[in-house]
């Protein structure tokens, strides 16, 4: 009896069943809160022809960018891309299909996919290239476009803590798209920094209930920072004081 224990033994097992031409929804914003090791595992597996749904596509040597050199990505649905040279080259050469989607619409499309809402209206993108081919309808005198939900064959998610039942807690802005991606995968795979005892998380404080999680693994993370901006240390603070 496995019950609700979602923990798997290896990253290989975590992504078992991921095959060519599938759609993968990934959490993360920039390099913050990305499922680093699950991405590495996709690279290792060499799965090809993937459609990726993610706000960004990483950088040259980190994040989803590592899937570019071996041409594992066929298409990406994202709001902001091109932080790396290989991405730009493939996009310009027509080797990589890019569907630019406003960030809020992208988030809502994931949520809708997970929530059984096939489509919704939004004012975002009305009158812009994003509206091309989409229905426009007026509600209370304002125009809105119809946007459809997104579902992934797999969702890959990074959380902070989890119990073995897959109840998740995220940390600070590493939350971002992760809880939404978690709801929108036919198979949702989550990697976390720490797995804690079932019952030790306050039921009122769980960000993602375990019902959305199929597989869970504990990993170690580099957590690379894109823009390391700082201020000088406060001069009023005396060391050791």
């Amino acid at each position: 009896m496995a019950g609700f224990d979602k923990v798997v033994a290896s990253y290989e097992e975590a992504l078992a069943g991921l095959t060519d031409n599938m759609t993968v929804i990934a959490g993360g914003f920039g390099l913050c809160g990305i499922p680093e090791n699950l991405i590495s595992e996709i690279k290792r597996k060499g799965t090809k022809g993937l459609t990726l749904v993610s706000n960004n596509c990483g950088v040259d040597d980190f994040g989803l960018g590592v899937l570019l050199p071996n041409r594992q990505i066929k298409k990406i649905i994202a709001s902001y891309v091109g932080e790396n040279a290989e991405f730009e080259r493939q996009m310009m050469a027509g080797e990589l299909e890019v569907e630019l989607t406003p960030q809020g619409t992208l988030a809502e499309k994931m949520r809708a996919g997970g929530a059984g809402i096939p489509a919704f209206f939004t004012a975002t993108g009305v009158g812009t290239p994003v509206a091309e081919g989409k229905e426009v309808r007026s509600f209370n005198g304002r125009d809105y476009i119809l946007e459809e939900a997104l579902i992934g064959d797999f969702a890959i998610v990074k959380a902070w803590k989890a119990d073995r039942y897959g109840n998740l807690i995220f940390r600070k802005t590493a939350r971002n798209f992760n809880p939404l991606a978690a709801t929108a995968g036919k198979i949702t795979v989550v990697e976390v920094e720490e797995i804690v005892e079932v019952g030790s998380l306050d039921p009122d404080q769980i960000h993602t209930p375990g019902i959305y999680v199929d597989r869970l693994i504990q990993g170690t993370f580099e957590k690379r920072i894109e823009q390391r901006t700082t201020r000088p240390a406060d001069p009023h603070k005396v060391k050791g004081a």
Binding site: P102, G104, T124, K172, T173, I225, T230
Partner: protein, 218 residues
């Protein structure tokens, strides 16, 4: 003389009101945070999922899990809250943010804005900009009035792909503060030392000049 980036930020900051929730875009808008008047409180929303963004961290405070929409490491103020991206854009799209400040390549007299794409050149994506311009009631666009070659960016009709249609009502450039209504730019203030004639010359869209136009106070 044309305003510096800092001066633009300084003038925008005068539009802030006590208790405002504000979203500041990347570039000049980010600088606005440095000029918040001492006698009011505002709370900064960052669309990656943070309400109550604070200053940059000291080296000791750096936290890879705490960044803003520009992917810069930041801190949180007291009373901050963190949420997912759907909730963040529920706030934005639902009109809960009091003021949004963002940059643009072009704005036109119908309130259209182009800010995210130059075909064949810059196609990195719109990020949250389309949601921000569609969601906010109150938007200030900050931009340079014209290109280095003197080509106006305040147009009859935008030439670049739009970020939003008919959503911009206030524009602050290095030369002037303007309101957009009824298909026209209306000059409200001019940068110190900049003449009305100069502004008219560098504004392609119809510009309404009503009476004496005061200089900005910085």
């Amino acid at each position: 003389m044309a305003l510096s980036r800092e001066q633009i930020a300084q003038r925008v900051a005068q539009e802030l009101k006590d208790g405002y929730y504000v979203n500041l875009g990347i570039g000049i808008p980010t600088l606005v945070a440095n000029y918040i008047p001492q006698d009011i409180e505002v709370m900064l929303q960052s669309e990656n999922g943070l309400l109550g963004m604070g200053q940059f961290p000291t080296i000791d405070e750096i936290d890879a899990d705490l960044i803003n929409a520009g992917k810069q490491t930041v801190t949180m103020v007291k009373g901050a809250s963190v949420f997912d991206s759907a909730e963040s854009f529920a706030m934005i799209r639902g009109g809960h943010v009091d003021l949004t400040v963002l940059g643009a390549f072009e704005v036109d007299a119908n309130g259209n804005i182009a800010s995210y794409m130059i075909p064949g050149k810059l196609i990195k994506g719109m990020g949250g900009a389309m949601d921000l311009v569609a969601g906010a009631e109150n938007i200030i666009v900050t931009m340079t009035h014209a290109s280095k070659h003197g080509v106006s960016k305040l147009l009859k009709n935008c030439t670049l792909p739009l970020t939003g249609r008919g959503c911009i009502k206030k524009v602050l450039t290095d030369l002037a503060f303007m309101e957009i209504k009824d298909g026209k730019f209306h000059l409200l203030e001019r940068a110190p030392g900049v003449s009305v004639e100069e502004i008219i010359q560098l504004t392609e869209g119809e510009l309404v000049v009503n009476g004496d136009i005061a200089e900005m106070k910085l």
